[in-house]
């Protein structure tokens, strides 16, 4: 193999890597991926309609507890989770607050934003406490949704997700396993695109600066990239056919991904916890 082709294959990220062996307390790895998706889904949907500060904070805390206990995270991941999320909330919150028009927006308590406390004033421009509250609430909602998605995202491998879709949701295995094979295409095409870009650059087909030149440039990459992609996909398809892919309606599954009582318990507990948080915080007003 040519070295230029071989290098990107040794990328650090391996979408197929199995979950590391863990102790029993790391329970998230022992759950069916579908349970880890189904548990947080009602909370994620309801968070879209929440306007206060406390509810999303509660869900972020819930996700933190689940991940810190149930998943084995590297120190960097823990730092990102515990420090990165609050930092992102602060930056996004202030950012959203700047967008808010204080004369038309209503705060979560129903009062107009420009009637709330003044946080600070620069010349003729005023940042109201209400605007900050709305901005922070929006950022917190996003953070809570992200944190809940990470419960499944950080503890599930791609192949396991595909297997549970095939085994429990009866997704045809031809689709599931083809999708799995397609993971392999991503780094390959990324590398191919790099080569095409440097080839075009060497030909002097830069076409200048600016968005229009950039669009023209990228359309120039499409044809060779597609030609290569189609050829590669055809070859992979032939190789899969030659190994009897699609011969029967099902295939031997060496990795059963069972849906067990513990998965039901996890979903039930998660839903109960979500309900409890929403009950206690009750972020909506019934008028």
């Amino acid at each position: 193999m040519n070295e230029t082709l071989a290098t990107p294959q040794r990328a650090a990220f391996d979408p197929y890597a199995p979950a590391p062996p863990t102790s029993a307390i790391r329970f998230l790895y022992r759950l069916n991926p579908l349970a880890k998706l189904a548990g947080p889904v009602p909370a994620i949907v309801l968070l879209v309609f929440v306007r206060d500060l406390v509810t999303p904070v509660a869900f972020v805390l819930l996700a933190w507890v689940l991940l810190l206990v149930g998943a084995r995270l590297r120190p960097r991941a823990i730092a990102l989770l515990l420090l990165g999320i609050p930092a992102a909330v602060a930056v996004l919150g202030v950012g959203f607050a700047l967008w808010i028009d204080p004369s038309t927006m209503l705060g979560s308590d129903g009062a107009r934003v420009d009637e709330t406390v003044v946080a600070w004033r620069i010349g003729g421009w005023t940042m109201y406490g209400g605007a900050l509250a709305i901005g922070l609430a929006t950022a917190l909602r996003l953070a809570a949704i992200l944190a809940l998605a990470l419960v499944a995202g950080l503890t599930t491998t791609g192949p396991d997700l595909v297997r549970s879709f095939v085994q429990q949701l009866r997704l045809p295995y031809r689709i599931g396993y083809t999708a799995m094979a397609a993971f392999r295409f991503v780094p390959r095409f990324g590398h191919e695109l790099d080569v095409i870009r440097s080839a075009h650059r060497v030909r002097g087909s830069h076409g200048g600066r600016g968005p229009f030149a950039a669009v023209a440039r990228w359309t120039g990459y499409v044809v060779p990239l597609l030609a290569g992609a189609i050829r590669h996909a055809e070859r992979v398809a032939l190789a899969m056919d030659a190994r009897a892919f699609g011969a029967h309606r099902d295939r031997t599954e060496r990795y059963p991904v069972p849906f067990r009582a513990r998965d039901v318990v996890f979903i039930a507990l998660f839903w109960a916890a979500s309900a409890a948080i929403l009950w206690l915080c009750f972020p909506w007003r019934l008028d």
């Binding site: 193999m1 890597a17 060497v202 002097g204 070859r235 190789a239 056919d241 699609g246 011969a247």
Partner: protein
């Protein structure tokens, strides 16, 4: 029609029914006018190893795909005649069922991977067949052990070398438990170390004797060790010879060669030596056999050829080649005024070969390319460590080395594909680290491995005109130069064709044309023969030889040592990001220890001919054309 050789009847008559029966097979691809292959009839007995030979375009690969039903079931084509495998008619049986009779290994190791670990990969086929899980693992273990990969079963296949991935593909085919394996050019995309790996694994499979093998391969040097029988197709796709491998190749070598089939280098050399009067009987097929045969025939040929004198003289002493003598700083900044007056033939012109003489001591031409203390990083890794290299005008330089030695990085820096740090590289008077692409194109052309990658226009004409238009050349000049280029590369009838619709060989020629049209005196090619069959590779090398003769300085990165020996005047050996040797090709290859320490193999002729006590006149010959015997 079929002119099956009488040897066919001499093929080992299987006591049982043949495993594979191919009868009068003709395959016509959709949209093609003629059938290739056109008329093929042969049998394969259980456990037999059959090599299919034929010039490019004879339909060998098509035939291979028909043996397990991919043609016509997955790829539309008309198949006439009968193919029967283990009693199943290929035309009437699904690919899935046939996969239990025929295991396939394809050319591209990357295009055969589906899963995330070696074990899952091997298990993939049996799982599709609903083999019970316990049996799947048992089969996978057996298959992985046979190719020596069981210890690495938990790894991602991406982490294997090319040779390792192809061994994995063999294991996958073995795990299908089929009595026949079909391999379609399994080593065409591999470097020499990978080829050896794959053939060692295949030899083990053959030694066990439980599988029949049909092998389509052009690298005869590697395959000959364990092949029982050879089937030869002609250019039209008709089967012309079928017989025991050793006998057929030894006795009918000239005939097979005349068909356009590429014979082992040692055999070609032996044919030539025979013509020069050396007694070589039977005809040797491997370097070792050639060596042994020459040792046995201690008699000198009757009339020692005069062309022998061409091989040895006019080389720099080797010691000097090891270290690159520092060049005066002034010489590397000076651009040479004219690109059209190359300095060829200042040394004595030797035989028919190109310009070995330019390397002579008397020619202290200023370097056209100079690399000084070049260090290149890719990410956190340092790929080149302080490399210095000088290339003079008119050289044909081969850059060789193991995978990861930094060959591609070095030539990409020279050609400005990846701009090098400023002030480290000078090419034809400019610095690729600083030059704008349109300026760069006038001084150095780069040809990528896959010609499609560098096509930017919608017609062949625009493709060639692109570089000139960037320079705002007048329309009349563009027409004239593009016209010249089209004629020169045999593309005159294709001016309005989309580049992607050209044939593989035409695409390659067009990519060379686009690299040269701006008038670059230097042409750099990254593995130009990789993944190509012999004929197409030879066509390209012919073009490069012509360009070189006309004065273009050529730099190629390659793994093919015989290519280096035949075409390159100079060779640079890279190892771990350093130049460990650089000098005239013959001198570099004379140092066996150095070549091996860099992880390379010597070209077959060097192995066969160096240091033969009975034939001192052959010592040091690495090129076929330097052998006595003229055009054998």
């Amino acid at each position: 029609m079929t002119s099956v050789d009488p040897d066919a009847s001499a093929a080992p008559a299987a006591p049982s029914a043949p495993l594979l029966r191919v009868r009068d097979v003709a395959i016509t691809h959709e949209g093609a006018d003629a059938a290739t292959p056109r008329a093929v009839t042969f049998d394969v007995a259980p456990g037999e190893v059959v090599l299919v030979l034929g010039p490019s375009g004879s339909g060998k690969s098509t035939l291979a795909l028909a043996l397990n039903g991919l043609i016509p079931h997955a790829l539309p084509a008309r198949v006439d005649g009968d193919i029967t495998i283990g009693g199943l008619a290929a035309a009437a049986t699904s690919v899935a069922v046939l996969s239990t009779r025929v295991g396939m290994v394809f050319q591209d190791p990357d295009a055969q991977l589906v899963t995330g670990t070696l074990l899952d990969e091997v298990a993939f086929g049996p799982e599709n067949l609903r083999v019970p899980a316990g049996e799947v693992v048992r089969r996978a273990e057996e298959a992985l052990r046979r190719v020596g990969l069981w210890e690495r079963r938990a790894e991602n296949p991406d982490r294997l070398s090319g040779g390792g991935r192809q061994r994995l593909a063999i294991a996958c085919a073995l795990a299908m438990a089929s009595p026949l394996l079909v391999l379609d050019e399994p080593t065409a995309n591999l470097d020499p170390a990978g080829i050896e790996e794959v053939y060692a694994a295949l030899a083990d499979v053959v030694a066990a004797g439980d599988r029949a093998i049909v092998l389509v391969e052009h690298d005869l040097d590697a395959a000959l060790g364990f092949v029982d029988r050879v089937v030869v197709l002609d250019g039209e796709g008709c089967l012309v010879l079928d017989g025991p491998a050793q006998t057929l190749l030894r006795e009918r070598a000239e005939e097979i060669h005349a068909l356009g089939v590429w014979l082992p280098v040692s055999t070609l050399a032996a044919l030539r030596l025979r013509a020069a009067g050396y007694a070589l009987d039977p005809l040797p097929l491997t370097p070792a056999e050639l060596r042994a045969a020459l040792q046995a025939s201690a008699t000198q040929p009757v009339a020692p050829s005069a062309s022998l004198a061409a091989t040895a003289p006019a080389q720099e002493p080797r010691a000097e080649n090891r270290t690159i003598a520092p060049e005066p700083a002034a010489s590397r900044e000076k651009a040479l005024p004219s690109v059209t007056s190359p300095v060829l033939g200042t040394g004595p012109v030797l035989g028919t070969g190109p310009v070995l003489g330019t390397a002579g001591e008397g020619d202290r031409e200023a370097g056209l390319i100079s690399v000084r203390d070049l260090t290149v990083r890719r990410g956190r890794q340092e790929v080149l460590h302080g490399v210095s290299l000088d290339v003079r005008r008119g050289e044909f330089l081969a850059v060789v080395g193991e995978n990861g030695a930094g060959k591609t990085t070095l030539v990409q820096a020279i050609a400005g594909v990846v701009p090098p740090p400023r002030g480290r590289v000078a090419v034809d008077g400019i610095d690729p680290g600083r030059a704008a692409p349109r300026e760069l194109a006038r001084h150095v052309g780069f040809v990528f491995q896959n010609p499609e990658h560098q096509f930017v226009a919608h017609t062949v004409f625009d493709e060639l005109a692109h570089g000139l238009r960037l320079r705002h050349a007048p329309a009349a000049e563009i027409r004239e130069r593009v016209g010249d280029m089209l004629a020169r590369f045999g593309l005159a009838g294709k001016a309005q064709t989309h580049p992607f619709l050209l044939s593989g060989g035409q695409k390659r020629r067009l990519s060379v044309g686009t690299a040269l049209i701006a008038g670059a005196p230097v042409l750099v090619l990254d593995e130009p023969t990789f993944g190509q069959d012999r004929e197409r590779a030879d066509e390209l090398l012919g073009i490069l030889d012509d360009l070189h003769r006309d004065g273009t300085t050529v730099i190629v990165v390659t793994h093919d040592m015989q290519l280096v020996a035949e075409h390159a005047t100079h060779t640079a050996v890279l190892s771990d990001g350093r130049v460990v040797a650089h000098g005239a090709t013959t001198d570099v290859f004379a140092d066996r220890a150095l070549i091996e320490s860099a992880g390379l193999r010597r070209p077959p002729l060097a192995t066969a001919l160096s240091g033969l006590p009975a034939h001192p006149e052959l010592d040091g010959i690495v090129r076929l054309r330097d052998l006595p015997g003229g055009d054998a």
